[in-house]
Amino acid sequence: MRFDARVEVTLREGIADPEGATIERALPALGFSGVHEVRAGRSFRLVVDADSEAAARELAQSLADRLLANPVLERAAVELAPR
């Protein structure tokens, strides 16, 4: 089976996010109000071959935790869709 996987890597709660804070500060200057708690992150797209959805999820989560995210700073969330 083949799956489209999206891995979203975001900073953990409590880790300062200067990028998100800078984006948030820029919004009022552009006329956007009422926007709070902007957090910046990264998104990765992968195609995964596995015997089951559970196996694909485990593989994607495992490579995300090992390589795509630094567990000291970040957490990785995996979304899967069958192809």
Binding site: I15, A16, P18, E19, T22, L67, L68, N70, V72, L73
Partner: protein
């Protein structure tokens, strides 16, 4: 013959010549070590110099931490060998788990290239052994991701274990607790963001970096 120092070179490393020259000027017997090297036998010191290993893709140090040489560096450190990661090398040591914590983007989101003043906060590490506590050194930084970050338990362990070797006197990048350099529990693996090799001659504006390199070579001579 002086201590045998290996300076690791990854694709994208750019401070290896400066580090080799500074250590060579103090009498070290320096050679370069390519990142595919799997044995560090015969070396007394391993330096992971600054630069942009593997283009800093993904995160600084992330790809380099899986290099073949890093397995050898871990074994070398385990056997008590002196390992010093400077700037990008510090990032590699954190990514590979040889030092705790991580280096995050600078608080001001700007690349910082400037002389900084640091204070020697521990004399237990191979890089600061014998250096007077509280001594202030002017050494340049040159980084975008240099803000040291760790959880509260790690910070307590660093402080309780006397493992913070250098602190900024004027925190330039948002590092937790003004940390500029840390060591592992045994003090033989050290990482720091300032570049001692760039403060290795009065012609460069400061020779304070030699204080650290002299301490490093003296630490090694004492144990060889």
């Amino acid at each position: 013959m002086g201590p045998r120092v290996g300076v690791v070179v990854f694709p994208g490393t750019n401070c290896e010549y400066d580090a080799a020259t500074a250590l060579g000027s103090l009498g070290a017997d320096v050679r370069y070590v390519w990142h595919h090297t799997v044995s560090l036998d015969g070396l007394d010191v391993v330096i992971l110099p600054g630069g942009f290993a593997h283009g800093d893709y993904l995160r600084p140090g992330a790809i380099a931490s899986f290099s073949e040489v890093m397995g050898a560096v871990a074994e070398f450190a385990e056997a008590g060998g002196a390992v010093v990661g400077i700037c990008n090398g510090f990032q590699v040591l954190c990514e590979s788990g040889l030092l705790p914590g991580a280096l995050q983007k600078n608080a001001g989101l700007t690349f910082l290239c400037q002389p900084t003043e640091v204070e020697v906060a521990s004399d237990r590490s191979v890089l600061t052994r014998g250096v007077t506590l509280g001594r202030r050194l002017t050494i340049p930084i040159n980084h975008f991701s240099g803000a040291y970050v760790c959880d509260d338990a790690t910070l307590a362990a660093l402080n309780d274990g006397d493992r913070v070797l250098l602190r900024y006197t004027h925190n330039p990048n948002g590092s937790v607790d003004d940390i500029a350099g840390i060591a592992n529990e045994r003090g033989n693996v050290v990482g720091l963001m300032p570049h001692p090799e760039r403060a290795s001659s009065e012609l460069l504006g400061s020779s304070d970096g030699l204080v650290l390199f002299e301490a490093l070579l003296a630490s090694v001579r004492a144990t060889v």
